[in-house]
């Protein structure tokens, strides 16, 4: 809100953004409505980048050899096909931030999905933060925010489209991860991974049933089960919305809805607000608008999908996370703000939540494999329609377009192509074992569409941020630290019952693990109750790194951690000091366990992963490179993500700025 005059009247949208930021952990960015689109320059050469999250070299090679991907083959033959070195760690927010800024995490300050607050030792999201309104007026049960809350994109460094903007080169950047809220620019951008749902979660589904069922409402997402009763062929329930910033205590808002079930037919009518629609059993509703009222004349709009899973004998209704309505976004989704509304006008509602596929619903058996794929197919079809539209309007400069499908489906279906995975199921493998191949073919179709629509002056670049490998076994880092005396719990504590370091004796603890690849020292002067003196740091880090690299899995005899990286050896840049103290590069088939990243101490040091989330990418980056295909020969044998950024800038004849550490790949 810097620069806002005190007497300036808040516009309604800004006001809503402000108060939502306060309540739901979200925020606002001011003044976007007045931005004009940048880049009037007609560039002779155009660059189209298809960002296909998680495309893996090993699998791509296999499918290419089998002749399954004719358009990938054609592009590779015309120019370049190389493994693309991923970030350290090879997590999507980190990797895409490398690409966005053309540098390593030391330059953009995104080191992991999750960081920690050194004052509290608690995990915090790395990508964005929300700051509540500082001043509120309380009138009875009413709470009127008087000053602005704020939502901040925590990625540092300039995005490549901001550099293009300096040279008046137009760019459209669609759903690139690590760009929520979208950074200020006059280019057309739409936020991607990291964009929350309307509640401020990374996706919270609702499941209504009269069957006994539990699901995990996890850190930042998951789902909620609502016990309902079928009385007189009718179900009455409510959909939870964002917290109400206008009421004291910020209670959750709700929208009541009714389901009328036919006495015999497997079909039901659902009604709420001005919506009324009929679903057959096993049918998706398509997008439905929903409005959550705060106080009279103040409300926010969302969109969600209903899926009538079963009518009888048990009632089962799934409602997707409520996405921010792109036609009336309560929170910043795009630059300029009108871009979101333009898209909504053309296509109707669409997925705005960062990662649209509901992996939590599949993980919790709320959706089965077929249902999950049906939902993800909607995501894919939406993306294809929008890609086609953007290609139609692509006349100059750069177009970046993102696909999430390969990443999400590989996370959930790797177990069905890996016979050694604890969750491998022969029957399911027979039915869904070709899902990953099919997904790569879907990506091939997207490339085909691009090849058909672009002109000869367009350089097509296909890239992924990382590859994939099985996630068979999980390593409990905090358990290891505990057993080796680096972490100490208060006497009488049962370690397996602890979460969020609630029983840690910080006065005797030297190290702790938060996040998916990160280890931190309890450093004096940095952590709230720091113990390790700065002069002890280096020796302790080397000791820890050495010992961690020696950890072997008694079940397989394999090393769990291939390399424990010290940031001073792998990062550079202005934010090096914010890096974790050790970054773990796991071996193939391994990653951090489910519970360790949030400050827990499970009993087993290394445990099997029986879950559907069975593929992952937290290994040493050398093991799972992404891919780079381009219609131009590459200058570098082993390019990295940031080299693609430099390559794009050089294609437009732009001198590489000093903060971009990549070398031009083209």
């Amino acid at each position: 809100m810097a620069g806002r005059k005190n007497d300036e009247i808040l516009k309604r949208r800004e006001f809503l953004q402000m108060v939502l930021g306060t309540s739901a952990g979200l925020m606002l960015t001011p003044g976007r409505a007045f931005l004009r689109t940048a880049g009037r320059k007609e560039t002779g050469l155009k660059v189209l980048v298809l960002g296909m999250d998680g495309l893996d070299t090993v699998l791509l090679n296999r499918f290419l050899e089998d002749g399954q991907l004719p358009h990938f083959r054609k592009l590779a033959a015309a120019g370049t096909y190389r493994p693309l070195r991923s970030s350290l760690p090879p997590q999507s927010p980190v990797a895409w931030a490398n690409f966005i800024t053309g540098t390593n995490p030391g330059g953009h300050a995104i080191f992991d999905f999750v960081h920690r607050d050194p004052k509290t030792y608690l995990p915090v999201f790395s990508a964005s933060e929300s700051l509540p309104a500082k001043h509120n007026l309380r009138l009875g049960s009413l709470n009127i925010p008087l000053s602005g809350g704020e939502i901040r994109n925590l990625r540092r460094g300039r995005a490549f489209w901001q550099i293009l903007e300096d040279y008046d080169i137009p760019a459209t950047v669609f759903k690139i991860p690590s760009n929520y809220p979208p950074v200020e620019t006059r280019q057309r951008t739409f936020s991607g991974m990291g964009t929350p749902d309307l509640k401020g979660y990374y996706g919270l589904f609702n499941y209504y049933t009269n069957e006994y069922k539990t699901v995990t409402e996890e850190y930042g997402g998951g789902g909620r089960v609502h016990d309902v009763y079928v009385i007189g062929h009718r179900v009455e329930a409510r959909i939870p919305g964002p917290n109400n910033p206008f009421k004291r205590g910020h209670p959750e808002t709700f929208v009541d809805f009714k389901v009328f079930i036919d006495p015999v037919n497997p079909v039901a009518k659902i009604s709420y607000q001005d919506q009324e629609f009929i679903l057959r059993e096993k049918e998706w509703s398509g997008w439905k608008k929903i409005r959550f009222e705060f106080i009279p004349f103040q409300s926010v709009s969302g969109v969600c999908m209903f899926y009538l899973k079963e009518v009888r004998p048990k009632f089962k209704l799934y409602v997707s996370p409520v996405n921010i309505d792109p036609s009336d976004p309560a929170l910043p989704l795009s630059t300029p703000e009108s871009y979101s509304r333009e898209l909504a006008k053309k296509f109707g509602p669409f997925f705005t939540k960062g990662l649209p596929a509901d992996t939590a619903a599949l993980e919790n058996d709320v959706l089965d494999e077929k249902e999950f794929l049906a939902q993800d197919e909607i995501v894919y079809q939406e993306s294809m329609a929008m890609l086609e539209e953007e290609l139609k309007n692509f006349r100059s400069g750069l177009l970046f377009f993102y696909f999430s499908n390969a990443d999400q489906r590989q996370h959930m279906f790797f177990r069905l192509i890996d016979r050694d995975h604890p969750a491998y199921d022969e029957k399911l493998a027979a039915e869904f074992g070709r899902v990953i191949l099919q997904t790569y073919r879907d990506m091939d179709r997207a490339l085909q569409l691009a090849m058909e629509k672009v002109d000869r002056n367009t350089v097509i670049v296909v890239m992924s941020d990382h590859g994939f490998c099985p996630f068979r076994r999980g390593f409990n880092l905090n358990t290891w630290l505990l057993r080796n005396g680096y972490h100490v719990l208060r006497p009488g504590t049962r370690p397996e019952e602890v979460s969020l370091f609630q029983a840690t004796d910080w006065s005797r603890t030297r190290a702790y693990g938060v996040g998916l690849n990160a280890l931190y020292l309890n450093l004096k002067g940095r952590e709230a109750q720091g113990l390790v003196r700065p002069e002890e740091k280096e020796a302790l880090l080397r000791e820890l790194a050495y010992k961690l690299e020696q950890v072997t899995d008694p079940l397989t005899g394999e090393r769990v951690i291939l390399k424990a990286y010290l940031p001073s050896e792998v990062y550079s840049g202005a934010y090096l000091a914010e890096a974790p103290d050790i970054i773990l590069g796991f071996n193939r088939n391994y990653r951090i366990s489910w519970n360790s990243p949030l400050g827990s101490f499970p009993r087993e040091l290394i445990e099997s992963n029986p879950q559907k989330w069975s593929g992952d990418h937290m290994t040493s980056p050398d093991l799972i490179p992404g891919v780079l295909l381009a219609g131009r020969p590459a200058r570098l044998e082993s390019p990295a993500l940031e080299d693609v950024t430099a390559g794009i800038l050089s294609l437009f004849g732009i001198k590489i700025p000093p903060e971009v550490t990549g070398r031009p790949v083209f």
């Binding site: 009718r234 036919d262 009324e276 629609f277 009929i278």
Partner: protein
């Protein structure tokens, strides 16, 4: 009687809108608002006591002037306030009579305009609900019920019977041009419902067919009423609402109609020497 009255008004409006079917709906709205303003001015001039209104408005002006001139004279102030109230009441009474007369044609026109501006006809590929409401005594579970869709319509779902509300609903999809009506068979009786179709920018959309009843028929003049002895009370299509676009903002037709009629009425009152 109501049906024939509605039919007569409807025919006039249909004829009036015929030249505008391919133009933006705003054109027809402007024309009907202008005609409404003229009609209302005409009725008002004929029905109201124009001399009395002129007199009472003069009294109002005089009282306001007194209040301004004699600000330091409490007694005159109070008398002027009393006179102001009295003149206001008189003014309202003078308006009551023309209002009572005007309300009937306005109601008939509104019911017709609702057909033209309230809902969008479903386009190919779109789905909509058909809802049939029955009288309370009907047992929906024993009812012999069938839905016959004409060419261009596909019945996508079996019926949803909502017993305690006496309602049955289906979901239909438009697959092509629809020329014939939809037929609901109830215990062998056939009831038709028009399905709005057409690509013109301005089209007449009857979303509701009601049973013969004065107060039901008046607001829903789109189709001949269902027989009075029918088990069916109402057949309704759940269609997308239509909005008149003004600088990117969707405006409800009723608001547009009232605003335009009032503005045009006030603008033209001098021309026709109508004292309002």
């Amino acid at each position: 009687m109501v049906w024939w009255l509605n039919k007569a008004v409807g025919s006039l409006i249909n004829l009036l809108f015929l030249p505008f079917s391919s133009l933006p709906p705003w054109v027809a709205m402007l024309v009907i608002s202008l005609l409404t303003a003229l009609l209302m001015l005409f009725i008002y001039k004929k029905i109201s006591n124009q001399q009395g209104i002129r007199r009472v408005k003069n009294r109002l002006k005089a009282s306001l002037l007194e209040i301004r001139l004699f600000q330091n004279d409490m007694r005159t102030q109070l008398q002027s306030q009393k006179e102001l109230l009295s003149a206001n009441l008189q003014y309202l009474l003078y308006n009551l009579k023309p209002l009572l007369v005007m309300i009937w044609p306005i109601f008939l026109i509104l019911a017709q305009l609702n057909l033209w501006f309230a809902s969008q006809p479903p386009r190919p590929g779109e789905t909509f609900l058909v809802k049939a409401s029955f009288i309370k005594t009907v047992d929906l579970e024993r009812l012999n019920l069938d839905l016959e869709a004409p060419d261009g319509l596909l019945v996508e779902t079996p019926p949803v019977r909502i017993l305690d509300e006496g309602q049955v609903a289906w979901r239909l999809k438009v697959t092509g041009p629809v020329r014939e009506p939809l037929v609901i068979q109830v215990n062998g009786e056939r009831y038709q419902k028009q399905i709005p179709a057409g690509k013109s920018r301005l089209s007449r959309v009857s979303a509701v067919r009601v049973k013969r009843n004065l107060w039901q028929e008046l607001p829903y003049p789109g189709e001949k009423p269902l027989p009075a002895d029918s088990l069916l009370k109402r057949i309704e299509l759940n269609l997308q609402p239509q909005r008149l676009s003004l600088a990117g903002i969707g405006l409800h037709w009723l608001l547009a109609y009232f605003l335009l009629s009032v503005i045009l009425g006030l603008a033209l009152k001098g021309l026709f020497r109508v004292e309002i």
